[in-house]
C-alpha cells in the first residue's frame, strides 16, 4: 500500500497547532458571548452569580496556596492536602458543637458587644483549626515524607495518595468522625442584606428582597476578609521574614541552601505546616458556607484547588490566588448558564486546556520567588 501524500495545507494545519488554537478561541468566544448575553438579559442575576463564584473562589484560594507552597519547595503534589482541609472542618465542628470554643473569649471578657463577640468567636475557631491542621501536617511530613526525601519523586507522590486514603477512611470510623453527614453549627447568626435599585437593607426570613437587587450575607464577607487577610499574611511571611527568605532559598536551590547553614528539613516542615494551616482555615470557611461536614468532603475541593494552583502556575502564590478565583467563577457560571452537572466537567477541562496550551500556568514564569 502506498502512503498518500498529505495536502500541504493539511500539513501546515497539523504542524502549527492552528486547529487546537482555533478550537480554544471558538470555545472562548462562545463562552464570552453566552456570558455577555446573560449579563444583558438579567444583570442582577449575573452579578449574583459572580458573588456566588467569588465566595467559592476565595475558599479554593486558601487550599490552592498550600498546594502551591509545598510544590514550590519539595516538588511534591501533596494529595493529602484536601483531607487536611476535611480535618480542619471537623476540628472546628467539634470545637463549636462540643466545646463552644466560639464563646470562650466572650466569656473571658464579658461586656463585649454581641457583634464583635461573634467575629472574635469565629476567628478563634479558625485559628484553632489552623493550629490543629498545622500540627497534623507537621506530623505527616515527619512520618511519611521526610524519610523519602532522597527517594524518587514518584515514591513521595504515592505516599501522599496513601496518606490521603488513610485520613479519609480513618476519619470515617465510628469513634473518629463517623461516616455520617453532620450538620455544621455556625459560630454566628447568618444575616443577609440586599443592595440594588430597591435600596439597601437586611432581609427578613421568608420575605423576598425587591426584584433586581443583589444579595450577600455575612458568610460572604467573612470568607472574603479572612482569605485576603491570610493571603497578605502569607505574602508578608514569605517576603519579609527570615523564615520566608529561607523558604525562598530552599525552593531555589536545596543543596546550596544547606551549605549556607539553613536547616532545610525544618524549613520544609514549616512550609507544610503553613500550607496546612491555610487548608484548615479553608475547611472552617467552607463548612460555614455550606453547613455540612462529612469524611469525604475534602476530595472535590482539594482536586479543584489543585487545578486552580496549576492554572495560576504551580509554585506561584499570587498565581494560585488568581487561579482559584477563576476556578470559582468558571464553576459557578457553568452551573448557572450551562447546567449544574457540567460544573465539574468544566473545572477539569480547564486543567487539560492549561496543560495543553500553557503548562506553566498564568503566573508560572521562572522567577526566584517560587515558594
Amino acid at each position: 500500500m502506498e502512503l498518500q501524500k498529505r495536502n500541504p495545507i493539511v500539513n501546515w494545519i497539523i504542524k502549527s497547532k492552528a486547529l487546537g488554537i482555533l478550537f480554544f478561541v471558538i470555545i472562548g468566544a462562545l463562552a464570552v458571548f453566552k456570558l455577555g448575553q446573560s449579563l444583558i438579559d438579567n444583570p442582577s442575576l449575573f452579578l449574583q452569580q459572580v458573588i456566588n463564584g467569588l465566595q467559592l473562589g476565595f475558599v479554593y484560594a486558601l487550599i490552592a496556596l498550600g498546594y502551591t507552597m509545598v510544590y514550590g519547595i519539595v516538588r511534591l503534589i501533596n494529595f493529602a492536602h484536601g483531607d487536611v482541609f476535611m480535618v480542619g472542618a471537623f476540628s472546628s465542628y467539634y470545637a463549636i458543637a462540643r466545646f463552644n470554643l466560639h464563646l470562650w473569649v466572650v466569656a473571658l471578657f464579658p461586656g463585649v458587644p454581641v457583634f464583635a463577640g461573634q467575629i472574635i468567636g469565629t476567628f478563634t475557631v479558625i485559628i484553632f483549626s489552623m493550629l490543629i491542621c498545622a500540627l497534623l501536617s507537621f506530623t505527616i511530613e515527619r512520618i511519611a515524607y521526610k524519610p523519602l526525601r532522597n527517594a524518587p519523586r514518584i515514591s513521595a507522590l504515592i505516599t501522599a495518595i496513601g496518606i490521603s486514603f488513610f485520613l479519609e477512611y480513618f476519619s470515617a470510623l465510628k469513634f473518629v468522625f463517623s461516616s455520617n453527614y453532620i450538620t455544621y453549627k455556625r459560630p454566628f447568626d447568618v444575616k443577609t442584606w440586599f443592595v440594588g435599585p430597591g435600596g439597601f437593607g437586611m432581609i427578613e426570613t421568608g420575605i423576598a428582597p425587591p426584584k433586581g437587587s443583589i444579595i450577600f450575607s455575612n458568610i460572604f464577607i467573612i470568607i472574603v476578609i479572612t482569605s485576603i487577610l491570610l493571603l497578605f499574611l502569607l505574602q508578608y511571611i514569605v517576603r519579609r521574614t527570615k523564615i520566608g527568605k529561607a523558604m525562598r532559598t530552599v525552593a531555589y536551590d536545596k543543596p546550596t541552601a544547606r551549605l549556607m547553614g539553613i536547616n532545610v528539613d525544618a524549613v520544609i516542615s514549616i512550609t507544610f505546616a503553613i500550607g496546612a494551616a491555610l487548608a484548615g482555615a479553608a475547611g472552617v470557611l467552607y463548612s460555614i458556607a455550606f453547613s455540612q461536614v462529612f469524611f469525604f468532603m475534602g476530595i472535590t475541593p482539594g482536586l479543584k484547588a489543585f487545578v486552580a494552583a496549576v492554572l495560576g502556575g504551580i509554585g506561584s502564590i499570587p498565581g494560585a490566588f488568581i487561579g482559584a478565583l477563576i476556578m470559582g467563577q468558571a464553576e459557578t457560571m457553568a452551573a448557572a448558564y450551562i447546567s449544574t452537572p457540567m460544573r465539574d466537567a468544566i473545572a477539569f477541562s480547564i486543567l487539560i486546556i492549561v496543560l495543553l496550551v500553557r503548562p506553566k500556568g498564568i503566573m508560572g514564569e521562572i522567577t526566584s520567588e517560587k515558594v
Binding site: 442575576l45 426570613t205 444579595i215 458568610i219 453547613s291 472535590t300 447546567s339
Partner: protein, 376 residues
C-alpha cells in the same frame, strides 16, 4: 460408626414424622417473614410487632372464617438466600398459604417468585421496588401485593397538596444520578402541570455537589412558590441552609427521603414532605392504633410496625372476603378489596400497588407534625 449412622437416620425419620403431624381442622396459618437479624433487624422487629398485634386482635374477635389464626414467624434476614429458605420452610413444612413479608425488596422479590410458583398469597408491607409485584415482562404477579405505595406516587400526592394550598408555580431540583429522586421529580412535574400549575424552572445536580448557590440564585430569581426537592435529608440540609441565605422564599417540599432524625429542622423550616404514616396524625384510627401499640410494646409505632399491621389486616380481610382459604380466591378478593387501614384507605390498582392516601408532614419551629392526609 455404623451405629452413629443408624442413630442419625432414626433421628431424621423421627423429625420428619413429627413435622407431618395431623392438621387441626379449624385453623388458618399465616406466616410473617421479617429481617429479625441481618442488616436491618430493627425494621424486622417493628414489622413483626405489627403482625403479631394484628393476629392477636383478629383472634380476640373470633379469628377468620371461624378458624383460629396461627402465626408463623421466620427470620429472612433482608437477603435473598435466607428469604428463599424461610419461604420454602413455611410453605412446605408448615403448610402456610398466606405470607406477610418481606421488608426489603431484595428479599421480597425472590419470595414472590416462590409465591407465584406455589400459589401462595404474599403481601409485602414495605418493599417499594416495582418488580416485587411485576414479572420481568411487565405483567402483574397474580399472588403478590404490597401495602405501601411505591416511591413516585409521592410526586402525585405532593403535587396535589401544593395545588390545594394554592401554589401555582414550582421549581424542580433533582439529582440526575439517583433513580428515587428522578422518579419523584418526574412524577411531581407531570401531575403539577396536569393540576394547572406551572414549572418555572428545572435544575439537575449531582450527588457530590455541596455548593447549590448557582441553582438557588435562579430559584430566587424565578419567584417560584414551591421548591420541589425530593432528595434525602443530607441534601435537604445543605439546600435548606443555603436557600435561606440566598433570599429564596419558595416553600420546600419533598418525599419520605426527608424522614430522618438527622434532618436539620432549622434548615428545612417551613417545608413539607410526604410519608406513609405519622404517629402525630390526628385521625381517630391512627390515635387508637398508637394507643393500642403503646399499651402492648411500650413504644410509639413507626412506619414499619404500622405497615406490618396494615398488611396483615389486608391479608385477613381478603381471606374473610373470599369466604374460603383457597389462595386463588383470596388473591382475587384482595385485588378487589377496599379496606380502611391505619395508613389510609386502601384499594389496589392493576399492578397490585395500593391506591391510598399519604400523610403530609410539616416542619415548623423545630418540630415535625402531620398537617394533612392527602388522597390521590
Amino acid at each position: 460408626m455404623k451405629k452413629k449412622v443408624i442413630l442419625s437416620l432414626v433421628i431424621l425419620v423421627a423429625i420428619a414424622i413429627s413435622a407431618c403431624g395431623p392438621k387441626a381442622a379449624k385453623e388458618i396459618k399465616i406466616a410473617n417473614l421479617s429481617p429479625l437479624s441481618g442488616p436491618v433487624p430493627t425494621f424486622g422487629t417493628s414489622t413483626t410487632n405489627g403482625f403479631n398485634l394484628a393476629v392477636e386482635e383478629w383472634n380476640a374477635k373470633g379469628g377468620v372464617l371461624g378458624a383460629k389464626i396461627v402465626p408463623v414467624v421466620e427470620d429472612s434476614q433482608c437477603t435473598a438466600d435466607p428469604a428463599v429458605n424461610a419461604a420454602n420452610k413455611v410453605i412446605d413444612q408448615d403448610g402456610v398459604k398466606f405470607i406477610v413479608g418481606e421488608v426489603c425488596s431484595s428479599a421480597s422479590i425472590p419470595i414472590s417468585l416462590i409465591a407465584e410458583e406455589k400459589k401462595v398469597v404474599q403481601i409485602s408491607p414495605t418493599s417499594t421496588n416495582p418488580n416485587v409485584t411485576l414479572n420481568v415482562d411487565g405483567s402483574t404477579k397474580e399472588f403478590v401485593f404490597r401495602a405501601c405505595f411505591i416511591d413516585p406516587f409521592q410526586g402525585l400526592v405532593m403535587a396535589k397538596f401544593a395545588t390545594d394550598k394554592g401554589y401555582k408555580t414550582a421549581f424542580v431540583m433533582a439529582d440526575q444520578g439517583n433513580d428515587y429522586v428522578r422518579g419523584l421529580a418526574e412524577e411531581f412535574e407531570k401531575h403539577f402541570l396536569s393540576f394547572g400549575g406551572t414549572i418555572v424552572g428545572k435544575e439537575n445536580y449531582t450527588g457530590t455537589d455541596t455548593d447549590f448557590s448557582a441553582i438557588l440564585t435562579k430559584v430566587a430569581d424565578s419567584g417560584a412558590e414551591v421548591l420541589w426537592l425530593p432528595d434525602y435529608y443530607n441534601v435537604v440540609n445543605l439546600v435548606g441552609a443555603q436557600a435561606k441565605e440566598k433570599g429564596v422564599t419558595a416553600v420546600m417540599m419533598g418525599g419520605d427521603g426527608w424522614d430522618s432524625a438527622d434532618l436539620d429542622l432549622a434548615a428545612a423550616d417551613g417545608g413539607f414532605y410526604s410519608n406513609h404514616y405519622s404517629p402525630t396524625d390526628t385521625r381517630q384510627i391512627v390515635v387508637d392504633w398508637v394507643a393500642r401499640y403503646q399499651a402492648k410494646y411500650d413504644s410509639v409505632p413507626d412506619a414499619l410496625a404500622t405497615l406490618g399491621y396494615d398488611a396483615t389486616n389486608l391479608m385477613l380481610a381478603a381471606i374473610e372476603k373470599a369466604g374460603t382459604d383457597d389462595s386463588t380466591a383470596v388473591a382475587k378478593a384482595m385485588a378487589e378489596l377496599s379496606f380502611e387501614a391505619v395508613s389510609g384507605k386502601v384499594t389496589f390498582d392493576a399492578q397490585h400497588n395500593p391506591i391510598k392516601s399519604a400523610v403530609v408532614l410539616g416542619v415548623s419551629g423545630g418540630a415535625v407534625t402531620a398537617v394533612a392526609s392527602v388522597a390521590p
